[in-house]
């Protein structure tokens, strides 16, 4: 080995030793406050309901952001690196951005094989599981089922229960606290759901058009019917020919409402509305879509208030 090589290997060893020196001290014991990261604001809200003061919860995606397209920014790695638990929507919703974040987090706990990884979809009732062949000719379809399942309050309850059970595993000393918080949330959710169902009763059977196929769990629970979509296929922007088809369908079936997520352009829905007299409603698929919707219960309050207002306006 020549002198140049020897010197350089010494340099490399010094760098590696320096990296080791930078190692932050390991957390010797499980923290009493769980550090929880979630992929979306909805899961974060449910985790806060259950975790109370024994969990600090933060979401990667914002509520006004399309959860299919989130940038896997390195700044998220700093948070994921310290997380005790990562709760994800699953069903391929985050497939375009979350896997590299998990791998690069260097956090053994939140890897799929770790004890701090929770796929909330495993606890939820999933709609639209394909029973036949799935191809990209259908657009950006989700082969494991529709991933917008949190918009059914019953699934919200199931997710909260799964999170409470996971919290209890990670922090057994506070298991009773998490169970009590879950019971309280379940009670409030049931009361609210009774109120929501009563409010939505006049709209039962109403046919709506939605921009993206984000709402089957919501419409299924509250008795609305989805007549079609502004997108010709999931993830494909509206084309003139499809827009014309939607206009004709709205006229034929006398559909009154077009539901649009806040991250989609309103140009096409408004053009359809202008041609048909239907009303465009910017509904929130996620907590945090607007500042006043800060919790899971407020999300349904907001959306149902919007639908009620639209119904009142039509009378």
């Amino acid at each position: 080995m020549n002198r140049q090589n020897a010197g350089f290997i010494q340099f490399a060893v010094a760098i590696l030793v320096g990296l080791w020196w930078c190692i932050a001290p390991f957390s010797a014991a499980m923290a009493k406050t769980l550090n929880v990261m979630t992929s979306t604001e909805d899961l974060a809200s449910l985790a806060r309901e259950v975790g109370g003061q024994h969990a600090t919860v933060e979401s990667i995606a914002r509520g006004y952001q399309d959860p299919h397209y989130v940038e896997a920014k390195p700044s998220f790695l700093l948070k994921l690196q310290k997380a005790d638990l990562l709760v994800v929507v699953g069903l391929g919703l985050e497939i375009g951005w979350l896997p590299p974040l998990i791998t690069q987090s260097r956090n053994a706990r939140i890897q799929m094989s770790g004890g701090g990884y929770l796929d909330a979809s495993t606890a939820a009732a999933i709609l639209e599981k394909p029973s036949g062949p799935v191809t990209r000719a259908m657009g950006d379809v989700h082969p494991l089922g529709n991933p917008h399942y949190w918009l059914d309050p019953e699934n919200g309850r199931r997710i909260a229960k799964a999170i409470a059970e996971k919290f209890a595993q990670l922090d057994p000393e506070d298991a009773a606290y998490f169970e009590q918080r879950y019971q309280d949330f379940e009670r409030r959710l049931q009361e609210a759901d009774k109120r929501w169902l009563e409010a939505m009763a006049p709209l039962k059977g109403t046919e709506v058009i939605t921009y993206h196929n984000s709402w089957p769990s919501f419409t299924d629970h509250f008795g609305l019917r989805v007549g079609g979509f502004v997108e010709p296929k999931p993830g494909i922007p509206p084309s003139p020919a499809h827009t014309l088809e939607v206009i004709n369908q709205i006229k034929k079936d006398q559909i009154k409402l077009i539901l649009v997520e806040p991250y989609f352009d309103l140009k096409t829905p408004k053009a359809i509305a202008a041609q048909t007299g239907a009303q465009v409603l910017v509904m929130l698929p996620s907590v945090g879509g607007v500042p006043e919707v800060a919790s899971y219960l407020q999300l349904f309050d907001y959306n149902i208030r919007l639908l009620q207002g639209a119904l009142a306006g039509q009378k």
Partner: protein
């Protein structure tokens, strides 16, 4: 009273065995009858199924429901829904497999480095999977007209003690940002000129840059912003950049990456790189590379699918030891890309690079790019490129590209 009670118990104890025998005999008869009845019902069900299959009609619920109603208690709870998504058993334990076709065409005159008029260039086949609870593996095969090459193939250990991340295998080095990009993730059809002139590879190669077999160890450093340090050890053979005459002629790369969110929508990334390896003059001759990269991105979260902007620039300094002299060369590129609409992107790039083996010569180029995304699984791109070569020739070309993805292709790191 107690005497009467004891007497009764004794009497029951004495007469109970014969009674049990009688019960057993009666039960056996009843079970026999029930078995006969079940057999009869089973044969009826089988006959009905055969009849239904033959006729192709829907089953008549009344027939099936009648016996069930007798068995089911009146207060049976509604069935629980089957929770969770559709099972992925069809691909259980198989890796995610994806293929990205990369069809490139070129028109115009270029006497120095002419692309073929039409070629299926460096299509990528990927296999990605979790290996075990401790590792994941990623394989990317570059399939071109001249054969198949392992572009990358490495195992990643994402959860080592001390928050280290280790990769082992053949991989693209972290020397500057664009070097890590696969061809299909570039916002242009070609790679920047600095990668050809200073980072190995000849001008007629489609895919250049530092990619080698080796080890990569990285860690996020404790700092108020994101700061990641990476140290890499490679075999020392990378295109025409590094050449290992002996086993000990390894090459090394160090990269420091910093990242900060300026606002919710805007972020800045700055990186510094250093690489060192033996060159093809001989084991005692070293090539040193120093790199600086900067990327500014803007993407408003509420309109992330419609609008975005990014500007990036990379500077590379090369110091190549040769027999009598040391060649000191410099090169850079600067580019910007703007998303006009959900499916439309436009951009421009400026290249300027001296040649590592003859720093007195330099090439330069300017490009404008327009990209259309029919969906997130395909792209159609056109690039107008004007190149001025050191030989004094100027090439004006139009390149076009069709990129198309089949199957599951995992997300790329940010």
């Amino acid at each position: 009273m107690r005497t009467i009670l004891i007497s009764c118990i004794c009497v029951i104890a004495v007469i109970s065995p014969p009674m049990r025998a009688q019960d057993t005999a009666a039960s056996a008869d009843r079970f026999g009858a029930l078995e006969e009845r079940i057999r009869a019902l089973e044969s009826q069900v089988a006959e009905l199924k055969t009849a239904l299959e033959a006729s192709g009609s829907a089953p008549a619920p009344a027939v099936a429901a009648a016996p069930a109603a007798q068995v089911m208690p009146q207060t049976a709870p509604p069935p629980e829904p089957v929770l969770g998504g559709a099972g992925g058993m069809a691909k259980a334990l198989n890796p995610d497999i994806g293929i990205i076709g990369n069809f490139v065409g070129a028109t115009g005159r270029n006497n120095v480095n002419a692309y073929p008029s039409l070629s299926l260039q460096e299509s990528e086949v990927s296999f990605q999977a979790i290996v075990d609870p401790y590792a994941r593996a990623d394989f990317f095969l570059a399939v071109g007209e001249e054969g198949i090459e392992v572009e990358e193939g490495y195992v990643t250990f994402p959860a080592l003690p001390g928050n280290f991340l280790l990769k082992a295998g053949k991989m693209r080095s972290t020397f500057t940002r664009v070097n890590t990009f696969h061809n299909h993730t570039l916002p242009w059809i070609d790679r920047p000129m600095v990668q050809f002139n200073l980072m190995g590879g000849s001008l007629d190669e489609a895919d250049v840059g530092i990619k080698e077999a080796g080890l990569s160890l990285s860690r996020i450093l404790p700092a108020p912003i994101f700061l990641e340090a990476t140290a890499e050890l490679f075999r020392g053979d990378s295109g025409s950049l590094f050449h290992a005459s002996r086993r000990s002629d390894v090459s090394n790369v160090f990269h420091l990456r910093s990242y900060g969110d300026l606002t919710e929508s805007t972020n800045l990334e700055i990186g510094g790189s250093y690489a060192r390896g033996h060159n093809d003059v001989g084991s005692d001759f070293i090539t040193h590379l120093t790199g600086l990269d900067a990327t500014l991105r803007w993407k408003p979260l509420r309109r992330a699918i419609y609008r975005s902007f990014s500007a990036r620039s990379e500077f590379v300094w090369s110091r190549r030891q040769e027999d009598a002299t040391t060649q000191r060369a410099f090169g850079f590129f600067a580019s910007a890309e703007y998303q006009l609409a959900r499916r439309w992107f436009t951009g421009a790039r400026v290249d300027w690079a001296e040649r590592a083996r003859n720093a007195s010569q330099h090439d330069s180029a300017e490009s404008v790019v327009l990209t259309y995304w029919p969906s997130e699984f395909s792209q159609i791109r056109g690039q107008l490129r004007r190149t001025r070569y050191a030989e004094g020739q100027t090439a004006n070309e139009f390149l076009f590209q069709f990129l198309f993805t089949m199957g599951a292709h995992g997300a790329h790191p940010f």
